[in-house]
């Protein structure tokens, strides 16, 4: 290493030493607690993941089931047999199914506090 490099190194290290003299470090315990909180949150998120996937699958199934019910009730040759009262029941059932799933998803995502 050249003399210039050595001089440069000394200057940089001198600067670093001066820089750290007036910089108190944050306490390790604060960082430890912060990391613990984050680890706990990540563990909860990991545990909840399958539940959330199943909720999404349930919602999609409910939408398909509702659409299928409406389709079955709405086809021309069945309209006459179902009647307007039956149609109302089918629509209400479909709405209830989707609404129920949607409420389940929304409530489960709300924070506990």
């Amino acid at each position: 290493m050249s003399h210039q490099d050595e001089q440069f190194r000394q200057a940089m290290r001198g600067y670093a030493a001066g820089l750290l003299e007036c910089q108190p470090l944050p306490p390790a315990s604060v960082i430890w607690l912060r990391a613990e909180r984050r680890r706990r949150r990540l563990a909860i998120e990991r545990a909840e993941r399958p539940l959330r996937i199943m909720q999404a699958v349930g919602l999609v199934c409910a939408v398909f089931a509702a659409v299928w019910m409406l389709y079955r009730a709405g086809t021309l040759n069945q309209l006459s047999t179902v009647g307007s009262r039956g149609l109302i029941w089918v629509v209400a059932g479909a709405m209830l199914m989707i609404g129920g799933c949607w409420t389940l998803v929304v409530v489960s995502r709300r924070p506990l506090s």
């Binding site: 000394q10 940089m12 001198g14 600067y15 910089q23 390790a28 960082i31 613990e36």
Partner: protein, 159 residues
């Protein structure tokens, strides 16, 4: 890692990491945040560092800190170098050359490389591991950064 073990690692490495972050960002409050985040990540991803010795842990911490700096630049949060205030008696050589002005003149990556090479005393391979750059890239970029720094300090007695 127990709390006591963490305290030991923290005591040994927090100072150098904070110095590095302050020198690269030029902002104490940002450096403080990044320091806390660096050690948080070390604790949260314990498995990643299982089996690392003290030197490897130190390099790993510099790698996390460097990645956090990159994330800041990418997200556009990076603000100009603010010349952190310093106190305490400095070696006499320091008075002849203005390292602070030189750091301000350099780009963030150049500051990073010079700091790791000259303050932390890392070789090219270690810098490559700490920054995620290739070994040859480190060599080239460090050479350029050094020349740029020397040109800047040319008016002083260094060059």
């Amino acid at each position: 890692m127990s709390e006591l073990e963490f305290q030991r690692v923290y005591d040994a490495t927090a100072g150098p990491i904070l110095g590095y972050l302050v020198a690269v960002t030029g902002r104490r409050e940002v450096a403080d945040d990044l320091l806390q985040e660096t050690f948080c990540r070390l604790l949260v991803h314990r498995k990643a560092r299982a089996g690392l010795d003290a030197q490897e842990t130190r390099r790993y911490l510099f790698r996390i800190a460097t990645n956090l700096l990159r994330d800041r630049w990418r997200s556009g949060e990076d603000r100009p170098f603010a010349e952190p205030a310093e106190a305490g008696a400095l070696p006499s050589l320091e008075s002849t050359i203005d390292i602070r002005a030189m750091l301000k003149h350099l780009k963030s990556r150049e500051r990073e490389l010079l700091w790791l090479a000259y303050v932390e005393g890392m070789d090219h391979a270690e810098i490559a591991a700490a920054t995620g750059l290739g070994r040859l890239s480190v060599r080239t970029l460090l050479f350029r950064a050094r020349n740029k720094a020397k040109r800047f300090l040319g008016q002083g007695e260094l060059v």
